[in-house]
């Protein structure tokens, strides 16, 4: 029983870390511009398909496909942001929601056109397959890898936000956009950079997710719900909030499906409504 619990906790945490990589970018960009970007999951899907193409079509190794997924998602997102999304910063949230849902629809259709509706699979390198035994528990190697990557990204993000000049600018813009602008910061440019980084992380998350949850054209929609839960529960513009929100969601989801499979995802939605009822700004939200 104890070992079962430990395995569920471990798997849940690994799933949560995957969600963290997928969603942390949206949390920061939402906190910056209040731009509700429902297309964030579509960038994750893009990263996934880039990784699949790179590995299966071009024969790249897995570790080279991951940065490719990051760069492709970052590049295309900043292109879209500069040409289309920026027109919507001043308009209402309904228009933002609808426009970005439109992007998700189009992305899903394009993915179907290019790859069909089948689940994509990739061949992991040998050293990521199988499992290792730690203190009597058999833990999946790939899940350990995901946790390591997510922790490294968290470290980088926290360091980048707390210690670098760009990080200080982003924090200033999140805290008070008007004053930051008044002090001469180019908030639009900061936002474009943040948007690219955040979407790139989503693309990386999409590539990492293929092995765990699969990849098909509905990915953008299906994981959008998870991403939004992480962001709203964690609180906008907070890396720590996204981290804990994602870990909580991942553990609850896996534990719920393992121990009480008959009520399925009911638990996490209940948790979502309950948390937002008590704290409308999320667990770590300030504004």
């Amino acid at each position: 029983m104890i070992s079962q619990l430990a395995i569920v906790l471990f798997d849940g945490f690994a799933f949560g870390m995957l969600l963290f990589v997928l969603s942390v970018g949206l949390s920061v960009t939402l906190g910056l511009m209040n731009f509700i970007n429902l297309a964030h999951g579509a960038f994750g899907m893009l990263g996934g398909y880039v990784a699949v193409t790179a590995m299966r079509g071009l024969g790249w190794p897995f570790l080279a496909a991951l940065p490719a997924a990051f760069l492709a998602a970052a590049g295309i997102s900043v292109l879209l942001e500069r040409t289309l999304f920026r027109r919507l910063y001043k308009s209402g949230e309904l228009n933002q929601v609808l426009f970005t849902i439109g992007v998700v629809f189009v992305a899903a259709a394009l993915a179907t056109y290019a790859f069909g509706t089948v689940q994509q699979v990739i061949q992991l390198p040998a050293w990521l397959r199988g499992s290792v035994e730690v203190a009597g528990l058999r833990l999946g190697t790939y899940r350990i890898f995901i946790i390591a990557v997510a922790l490294a990204i968290t470290g980088l993000l926290v360091f980048g936000l707390e210690r670098t000049r760009l990080g200080a600018r982003i924090r200033a813009a999140v805290d008070n956009q008007r004053v930051a602008q008044g002090l001469g910061l180019d908030v639009e440019k900061i936002f474009a950079v943040t948007f690219a980084l955040g979407s790139g992380l989503a693309g990386l998350g999409g590539a990492l997710a293929i092995e765990i949850v699969g990849l098909d054209p509905s990915f953008g929609f299906h994981y959008l719900v998870y991403v939004l839960i992480v962001v709203s529960v964690g609180g906008l513009g907070s890396v720590a909030g996204s981290f804990f929100g994602a870990a909580l969601l991942g553990i609850c989801d896996v534990a719920g499906k393992y121990f009480v499979p008959e009520i399925g995802s009911f638990l996490i939605y209940l948790l979502l409504v309950a948390i937002l009822f008590v704290r409308p700004l999320g667990l770590f939200g300030k504004r």
């Binding site: 309904l94 929601v97 629809f105 056109y113 509706t117 939004l228 839960i229």
Partner: protein, 328 residues
């Protein structure tokens, strides 16, 4: 959307003038009778459109008028659909009372939910409405002993309307029934949006912080309109059950919530006929393109959405109205 200021001394007079029936409206309702005579093969589609339009109008009341962005209104549609189906399965297939009970049940749930809805704004609001919808969906899915789960609710039987009009295979009775319900719903909604209550709803949409400052109880207003809208959405769901004699799990799906918002935005939010026109365009287009793979059909919907939001933020009807005004 700006509301032109009352110029007459008497505000009641102004409200009354705005609520007068226009020629276009009367023409629209006359045209809505055409399917009975001209396109009989399309009667089932026409009744689907009427039902969905009623649902879209209910969403317009909260989203277009009160500015509450909801991505979870299918919850009330589905609740209405399931309660109508369950009443009928329990042995009471009388449609009118079934419709009323289903609507009231959805309204009761809406009233309870409204206490949470008015507490939150922005992203949290969208997420709470979405969360409610997903929650009901999972609930209906897991309570398969009651709802039939993914197989849907079978064995629904609806008696003739008023004991006279039997639901026929062609769909005459179904369309008449749905159209009558849509007409009643629209008359009621017209009355609401052209009242002082409707004006205060628009005030909430335009500036929620200012409403308490001018002494308007905005939370109470929001709760009222949310409940009314839930009743209407529940009735639309019940109509779907009674005209098709089945209930499927997708009445509660996120897809339905998203589709209805898409229809609303196509037609134009904050104008009742925008919901109806948007529904007609969406449903007719989907019917005509139904041989296409649904994935590709959503490509065009997505593109249309992006174009409408960027170029015609007031929707198709709103843009037409603007053009007409510019001509004058």
């Amino acid at each position: 959307m700006t509301v032109e200021a009352p110029t007459l001394a008497d505000p009641h007079d102004w409200l009354r003038r705005r609520s007068r029936w226009s020629v276009f409206e009367i023409a629209f309702w006359v045209a809505s009778l055409l399917p009975f005579f001209l396109f009989q093969t399309y009667l089932p589609l026409a009744s689907q459109i009427a039902i969905t339009a009623l649902f879209a109008v209910s969403v317009d009341l909260v989203l277009g008028y009160a500015g509450v962005v909801t991505l979870g209104h299918a919850m009330f549609f589905g609740l209405g659909a399931y309660s109508a189906g369950l009443i009928s399965k329990a042995g009471w297939g009388e449609p009118l009372t079934g419709l009323i009970i289903a609507g009231l049940f959805a309204g009761l749930v809406g009233y309870i939910a409204s206490f949470i809805i008015v507490r939150v704004q922005h992203l949290a609001l969208i997420m709470i409405t979405l969360g409610f919808c997903l929650l009901t969906y999972e609930l209906a899915n897991s309570m398969s002993w009651l709802t039939g789960g993914t197989d849907g609710l079978q064995g629904v039987e609806t008696w003739p309307i008023l004991g006279v009009f039997r639901f026929d295979l062609w769909g005459y009775a179904a369309y008449g029934y749905a159209l009558a319900a849509l007409f009643l719903g629209l008359v009621l909604s017209r009355r609401i949006v052209h009242s002082s209550f409707g004006l205060s709803l628009r005030g909430i949409r335009e500036n929620v912080r200012r409403m308490p400052a001018i002494g308007s109880d905005y939370r109470g207003h929001l709760q009222k309109i949310y409940t009314i809208s839930a009743v209407m959405a529940g009735c639309a769901g019940a109509l779907l059950t009674q005209t098709t004699d089945t209930v499927s799990l997708d009445t509660l799906s996120f897809q339905r919530s998203a589709d209805v918002v898409v229809m609303l935005v196509l037609g134009g939010t904050g104008r009742l006929y925008g919901a109806v026109v948007g529904t007609i365009i969406f449903m007719v287009a989907r019917d005509q393109l139904s041989d296409m793979n649904p994935q590709y059909w959503y490509f065009w919907i997505g593109l249309l959405l992006m174009v409408v939001v960027l170029l015609m933020p007031r929707g198709i009807l709103g843009s037409l109205a603007q053009l007409a005004r510019r001509r004058d």
